[in-house]
Subunit: 341 residues, 2 copies
């Protein structure tokens, strides 16, 4: 019982006085074994404290119970909440989660390949829109995979994300409802497809409100705090200013707020600002940031569920799952001031 080496299936078989095959069946196909035998086996398992050796099992099955999760930055607050969803779903199905972060470095990605090639991971969750592995020949050998947040570039991989267009639409519609017409979109169309979809939502909202093109101001940054600050600087050089800044993500919104405050403006008195993502600090900003919430835990849960389904069926039921993002109204939006301009 408190033996030094863990019990094997043979120990159980000996004690239960059956063959090892029967023990294995009692565990994994209980209906195939007689009630009385199953009882004996279960007792023997309890006595020995036996647990199936996952290594041996995976070796025999040619498939592990690990899922590799690769993200560019595991420190990203957007990441950790999704991780919770992934983890919960995986664990409840007997799977474990293997973490990898690439820091956008292809070399790093390659190192994780090892876990896949060596059969240590049965499936792959990708947080980045591109395959982290240089070799495109790899795709042939890629295990069942699911993308998170945005479609994976090379295609053929189902993904779970948020309806970015609808989310952005909610933000722009709020601003329009508050009376704004001249709304700037501070975007980042280069790095991520999801971001360009948010811009599509912006344009659609402006279209729907019949706001002419010359009232639309689009600044393309790179999704960082600094780029938000920079956007403000640049826009202030033009003759016409927006009354509201709709930002492609919260980071950009934070930058915009910093830029506006540095110039002495009041938010939302002088300018309204919206973000997208609802990162944890959004609520602690002054003013707290009105933004679009990503249902992060749900995204993780769905992504893992889809992957597990892929793992057992081979075919994905859906190729794209888009969850509904919610508008979170806080204090960074109000009606445009009539005094100014």
């Amino acid at each position: 019982m408190s033996n030094s080496t863990p019990a094997t299936i043979e120990d159980v078989a000996r004690i239960a006085n059956v063959s090892i095959a029967t023990v294995s069946r009692a565990i994994h196909m209980p209906e195939k074994v007689a009630n009385s035998t199953r009882l004996k086996v279960n007792q023997a398992i309890a006595v020995t404290g036996y647990t199936t050796n996952a290594m041996a099992r995976s070796l025999r099955l040619g498939r592990s119970n690990m899922i590799l999760v690769v993200a560019p930055d595991i420190g990203d607050p957007n990441f950790s909440n999704i991780l919770i969803g992934l983890e919960n779903e995986a664990r409840s199905h007997g799977y474990g989660i293997l973490i990898g972060h690439t820091q956008n470095d292809a070399q790093r990605g390659l190192e994780y390949l090892k876990f896949l090639n060596s059969n240590q991971a049965a499936g792959l969750i990708l947080f980045t829109g591109i395959l982290p592995f240089g070799h495109q020949t790899m795709t042939a050998r890629l295990p069942p995979s699911v993308g998170v947040f945005e479609p994976v570039f090379n295609g053929g991989i189902p993904y779970v994300g948020v309806d970015d267009i609808a989310g952005a639409r909610k933000a722009v519609d709020l601003l329009i409802a508050e009376g704004h017409r001249k709304i700037a979109f501070i975007g980042d169309s280069r790095t991520r497809l999801a971001y360009s979809r948010r811009r599509m939502g912006y344009e659609a909202g402006m279209d729907a409100a019949d706001i002419s093109a010359n009232l639309r101001i689009v600044f393309e940054g790179d999704g960082t705090i600094e780029s938000g600050r920079l956007a403000v600087e640049q826009l202030f050089m033009r003759d016409t200013l927006p009354t509201a800044f709709m930002c492609v993500n919260d980071q950009t919104a934070i930058g915009v707020m910093i830029g506006l405050k540095a110039r002495g403006y009041d938010i939302p008195g002088d300018f309204s600002v919206t973000g997208f993502d609802d990162v944890p600090q959004a609520v602690f900003m002054t003013p707290s940031l009105t933004t679009i919430r990503q249902p992060r835990t749900a995204i993780g849960k769905h992504a893992m569920a889809l992957l597990l389904e892929l793992l057992s069926d081979g075919q994905p039921a859906e190729t794209e799952i888009l969850l509904r993002p919610d508008l979170v109204v806080r204090n960074s939006v109000s009606a445009p001031s009539r005094i100014r301009r």
Copy 2:
């Protein structure tokens, strides 16, 4: 090469015209094999794209190349940065990281036990001060383990953390240097040992400045935002108020700031506030929070290094590694106002 099933050591052996034992040795004990043979083997490996099957290897060795990391809450911002350090160190030594979060639920912890018992993880990193597994009999079978942040209750497990006493001392010394005498400590001595050490730092600093006991106000909360807010409410009911709030962590500090602002006070004009941890949002608070930074990535790196050492040597070189926390001066501290009281 682009075969459907991955190459095995036998494929390599056949092509290199040697035995599988030689291939294995060429890979893992290169000095034991003749130069010419090693060359042949390496070429064959390149041709086949062979990677060692980790399952088979672990099965044979009775030890895996995975480290299980168990934390109560993987969404905690304190956690994710440490994870980066852990991950980097592990990967550079060929280890992978398995994630588990218990949500302080013993049942959950037990589920992760499975990964250990079944040989899927060779070592354990514990983020919680107590063993997450109910059975204390387990300790006998516990694999090499390292605690992070604070000592593990049951003892015998080395840990890596921050010098909480010295860190707290820096905070209280700053406040005293600014001229504060009546400094409240908003603590949380119940949940974590690290927190009670921070209080020790507070007391030591007050002692050193010869500040009498009746000027010391200690409120014991539970380390949450809400408990910080509550502390303010309670202290305002007393006749004497502090001029500064030294908080056991940033969450509490955020709560204190919310409470003070709700009463219309200015920070740091009316009251100074310090935190501990330097969570990501600390810099975005208004005013930005003066706090003590935990060297998180370094903690992770050291913890993993210690564990890997443990794994190979069996004996830990050190039983406790305390890193130096740094004071981060921002805008929530100033001299006490002379006007008031």
